[in-house]
């Protein structure tokens, strides 16, 4: 059962990701991205990372996807024209990526990893929370500052000038 679910979710995640980077319409891509992350949350559940599965869905579906869609609507982004893949950069990148993938796949078939037994870590909210607010308290605080900094950054970047005399000089 677990194996079947793992293969199913893995397949769906990878397929979703592939579709994200191949869809021409950014709206489609955003929806597929959320779907991808949903399936990934499924994988998290299989890995007994219960809290993270919930967080994944909440943050990505609840926040990031909305943000993407909002911006897409705001920008009125059109479908992009099909890119010609003949460019040297593209081929080079594909080659490098393929090599990376092949190397990794080769290594990961390494027998040592087969034999690693599953641990007993249960990623419940209580367990994660206890760890987060004891050992990892300081990084947690830093992350909160990070979110604040990001908010301020966004304000600086997109808030319109407050008064007419504050208007930015035209470029």
């Amino acid at each position: 059962m677990e194996a079947a679910l793992f293969h199913l979710f893995s397949f769906l995640t990878l397929a979703g990701a592939l579709l994200v980077i191949t869809r021409r319409d950014p709206v489609n891509a955003a929806m597929l991205l959320v779907l991808t992350f949903f399936f990934m949350a499924g994988l998290f559940v299989l890995a007994h990372a219960w809290f993270l599965a919930a967080a994944q869905i909440l943050v990505y579906a609840g926040a990031i996807m909305v943000l993407f869609l909002f911006v897409i609507m705001l920008l009125d982004a059109k479908e992009e024209t099909r890119r010609c893949f003949g460019r040297v950069a593209g081929v080079g990148a594909l080659a490098v990526g393929g090599a990376l993938l092949a190397a990794l796949a080769g290594v990961i078939r390494d027998g040592r990893l087969w034999r690693v037994p599953a641990g007993d870590a249960e990623g419940t909210t209580a367990a994660v929370g206890r760890l987060l607010f004891n050992t990892y308290l300081l990084p947690f605080e830093v992350a909160s500052v990070l979110l604040l900094a990001a908010t301020v950054g966004v304000i600086v970047l997109i808030r319109a000038p407050r008064r007419p005399d504050d208007a930015p000089p035209s470029a």
Partner: protein, 514 residues
Amino acid sequence: MNLSDLLPLLRFLAPEILLSALALGALLGEAALSRLLGVEKRQNLLGWLALLGLGACLVILGDQAARGETLALGRGAFVASPFNALLKTAATLAVMASVTMGLRAPFVRHVGENYALVLFSLLGMFFLLSAESLLMIFVALELTSLPLYALAASQKGARRSIEGGLKYLLFGGLSAAFLLFGISYVYGMSGQGSLAGLRDWLVAQRTAGGPGFLFLTGVCLMIVGLGFKIAAAPFHLWAPDAYEGAPLPAAAILASASKLAGIVVAARLLLGAFLPVAGNVLGSPLSWHAGWSPAVAALAVASLTVGNLAALAQRNAKRFMAYSSVAHAGNVLVAFLALDASGRPAALAAPAIAYYAVIYALTNAGVFAAIHALAWGARGDDFADFRGAARRAPFPAFFLLIFLLSLAGVPPMAGFFGKLFLFMAALQADATHWGLAWLVAYALAMNVVALGYYLRFARVLWVEPAEDLRPISTPLELRVALVALALLVLGLGVFPSSCLAAFRTMGGVLLLRG
């Protein structure tokens, strides 16, 4: 844990707490004053308050350095030590120069937010300079970078600023992804989150069949991520556009404090945690040993080549500085390779890297401050706009010359000693066989080219005739900043051992403690 346990902690975290308070203060000040004062007034008031706060930070850091106490929190998540305090001091000084430049920047609309971003970024650097765990390095790196993305793009009326910021963000995100993916392998294979733990695990693995290929793949991916951060070729592609597009105060931070933090983190990871899998690049390629050294050697050679040769062809001062920064990444990477055949780093390596990172940050802050002063009366920041600037504004032009010569490695400026110590460290590593002489010789040859292009810039300022003879006035605070930075660059050059000795005595040179 009760309150009396927390108080000593506060003493060690005081600079970080003060910085957070300053950033929040800037935000609140903006909210409170935006209806009372005009933009320029707010810019001045909040800016001076920020400078005051940063000055207080310097005092606290000086106190930390003088006390010589060390504290490690949460599995290496935060290590306060005198050595780190000195590095933070240098970063603070560079950021102070940037704030001074920003006091009169004409394009700033969101005054308090702007200062807050600068302070947040500095806060990130503080945590980064104190981080000895993978998690903290990742989070602090993001806290350093995110405000800088926004600052680089903050000149909203200028297309090149937004585009530069965007490029910086995309490459920064790519860098973070590589770093994180590498971290996931490194952490996953070893189960160690702290750098000291990683090092001990690797030492233990020497007798247990090695760390495995996947771990090494992780290390390589992390090197890619770090390469992006310190703008080492071939991962430097973002730098020219980001530097050129960013407003000068933001570019100054990119080139100075942010680079300092990147170099220190790279040193902590490679020469600290991953030292047991360094390999080496001594002698001919046939005698090299696998590890991260060959990869870093490739980065060093590529950076020296690309940075120095591309800088020759630049026509814009900021792009020029970006390529110069690539070249300097190459210089500093030379000392990363200062390992002997048994993998022990040269005694001079870590002090030399730290010394170089510090003086490089101060010098670059000076260069950008001087360019800012000159650009005040120029049309733009192309070389052509600075023709004959020495006649229009001899004061900043003189200091720009000093800083450029320091970058070129001309004594008695600190840049000369910085480069010399790096190269000496590389030769010290394998002193009986001169195994790194090939790399040092190449670096020296490339530095001859470097003098050529720094002099080219200096020629534009000092030799070429000026078309426009109206004098450019330099605000007093900028003059003070230039003089202070120049004194530091000269002082650390004439008395290099003051800094070097401090780095040496402060704790067995490298860097891991937790």
